[in-house]
Symmetry: none
Subunit: 378 residues, 2 copies
């Protein structure tokens, strides 16, 4: 154990938890983690650079420029350089983790596959991958891909054989209307009053995470009094939520600017009373069911005819969930509007399918789907 035989500072931090607990440590994550005592941390939450590799500028349809994450800390020369960085901090993280500790790492498709593979290579044992579905993600402005509407978190134990890690199954289930908590979570992105701003009103950090996300992470996998380490502390969301929930935090951050914001933020946090440290689960969103789901579910066949309640117009259903009159194909709403010469139309109530002599509104068919979805957040 390199640590025990090293400098007096290291010995002192090991002997006196107050010297390194509930504090932000300035410096590089690897060096600072190496200075912490091994087997000392219950949970790690890590939000490492995503290595976005953005090329040119991107403008919205109104020609305004998208504020890209172009900070120096997100730039790597190559995948190899990113992998080396990833392995280095994961190794240092594993050393400070208790044998029954767990680690969360969040990322996007740009980096999460490399991170996940490195975690497996280093001996971490993946317990779940958890998808953060954003209620309000940024659109895809050029229409060249699917809207990138989620990020991925990997939750892993230190070792394959660690069986005594903390998972508060019952509180997760209770918080989720007595249905076990799924691996896909729905939260808004961090904005509004929660989003930290600098003196000029600009966002203090480009990638601040919502507190609700961190709260569910900590409520699911830590106990009150546990030690939570965040090696990419930023503006301190992990620390703020940990303090509020009665957990200890350890933050590591390189940028003075972020540290300053985080210190003030955490100082203002009032810990909840012990008995009220419970899950705050967002209310279930209303289920939106797109028309294509009716086709996919077989409730409406491709090629079937839709008609309005007066049987004045008919349109034909296509496999991709559009409907067509002749070669004019678009959504149920657009076609409904077009035949009536209107700007808008609620296709759900306008269009019907024939069932024998009678007509059934496709809105009624949608109800069938909604009922079958049951507890799943749409």
């Amino acid at each position: 154990m390199a640590y025990k035989s090293s400098a007096s500072l290291a010995t002192s931090v090991e002997n006196d938890r107050s010297e390194w607990l509930d504090r932000i440590h300035k410096g590089h994550c690897v060096a600072r983690m190496e200075a912490l005592p091994e087997n000392s941390v219950d949970v790690i939450f890590a939000d490492p650079p995503y290595n976005l590799q953005l090329a040119g500028d991107l403008t919205r349809p109104d020609q305004s420029k998208v504020d890209a994450v172009d900070d120096a800390w997100d730039q790597f020369e190559s995948f190899q350089a990113y992998d080396a960085f990833t392995r280095a901090w994961l190794l240092a993280a594993r050393r400070v983790l208790k044998p029954n500790g767990t680690i969360w790492v969040i990322g996007s498709y740009h980096n999460i596959f490399r991170v996940g593979a490195a975690m497996q290579d280093l001996g971490f044992w993946i317990l779940n991958d958890v998808v953060w579905r954003k209620t309000n993600p940024m659109p895809n402005f050029r229409g060249r891909r699917f809207q990138n509407a989620h990020e991925t978190m990997i939750w892993a134990s230190r070792d394959q054989n660690a069986k005594a890690y903390t998972f508060n199954y019952d509180s997760m289930k209770a918080a989720n209307d007595d249905i076990q908590m799924r691996s896909d979570w729905l939260f808004p992105i961090c904005s509004g009053g929660e989003r930290l701003k600098d003196a000029d009103g600009r966002k203090a950090h480009p990638t601040q995470k919502p507190e609700a996300l961190l709260a569910r992470v900590l409520l699911s996998s830590t106990k009150p009094g546990d030690v939570v380490l965040d090696p990419f502390f930023g503006t301190g969301t992990t620390g703020a939520v940990a303090k509020r929930l009665g957990r200890h935090y350890v933050g590591i951050e390189r940028e003075d600017e972020y540290i300053e914001v985080a210190e003030a933020r955490i100082a203002a946090v009032e810990p909840l009373e012990a008995h009220s440290v419970r899950a705050a689960v967002s209310k279930r969103a209303e289920r939106r069911v797109p028309f294509v789901s009716l086709v996919e579910a077989g409730l409406v066949q491709p090629g079937a005819e839709l008609t309005d309640s007066q049987r004045r117009w008919t349109a034909r259903v296509r496999a991709d969930g559009t409907i067509a009159i002749g070669d004019d194909a678009a959504s149920i709403h657009r076609i409904g509007a077009r035949v009536q010469g209107l700007d808008t139309c609620n296709g759900w109530t306008f269009w019907h399918v024939r069932t024998g002599e009678a007509l059934t509104s496709i809105d009624d068919l949608r109800r069938t789907i909604r009922d079958s979805l049951g507890a799943v957040e749409a």
Copy 2:
């Protein structure tokens, strides 16, 4: 091209698509893909095995077998073997893919991170990761983890610079009630009548995917008549959906048992009519109509005034199809950009003509021209 100089079978399959198209090829996926002509496939859908204990599927680079064992070192060994297997089939897949082709790979947290990292290492360029959220996933019986309620698909182009891959943005958006399709999709798992059973009533394949999932994959990223390859064909979901949607399929499968089921299944599929399976037309694909055509058609008179929707600026139409403010004449786009102080502007949507008190966008006039052209051509 190694292929062209190889055996006569290979030459014949290259020369005659009917010898390898809409067929199931029995054998190992790598060997069978190597026997297909390069640059011949539009889209690949791959559902590779991810049971790390499946020794039979895993071979070292030298093709020697790996013993599946479960202590830590051998776990590492089997990761190595799994990576070698993954790289081998991905390389073979990349060779048969057209330059603007795309590939879908589905997996769970057991394997998807290794697969994704390998794809990036081999030069594939990730376009999206798409989450399949299951409406009815298997519960976590021991209550030691979150319910594993999703799987992950990676969608990638063959090369970083491939910009002309197929993505039916407008189809996806129209099918989703005119909101762009997100990266998280909600579908039930494959069960009930869709789930194929053997003579004893047991499921014919352990990981049969729902047809609705494949339908959205193919409707989003292929055109009618495209060639879809599935190197882990199983019971042929990809083939059945491809045939139904008017796409060609190529299946590769090792097990006779699965091939038999798949053949019968696909034979029973009735293709939808052509008009039901076309993608919604995108504006990008529409015939280009230059502004001067509106002048030539008499829809806009030389000397007429154009104005923006707020009536802030006006420009005068000239007989040559340019527009002018004072002596400053240029295209509808250049002048639109100039008055707004922007780099670019879509003059079609920016400029309007006065019709009495109201304004009509010149884009609407263009539609008139396009409609009349369509009548001539169609």
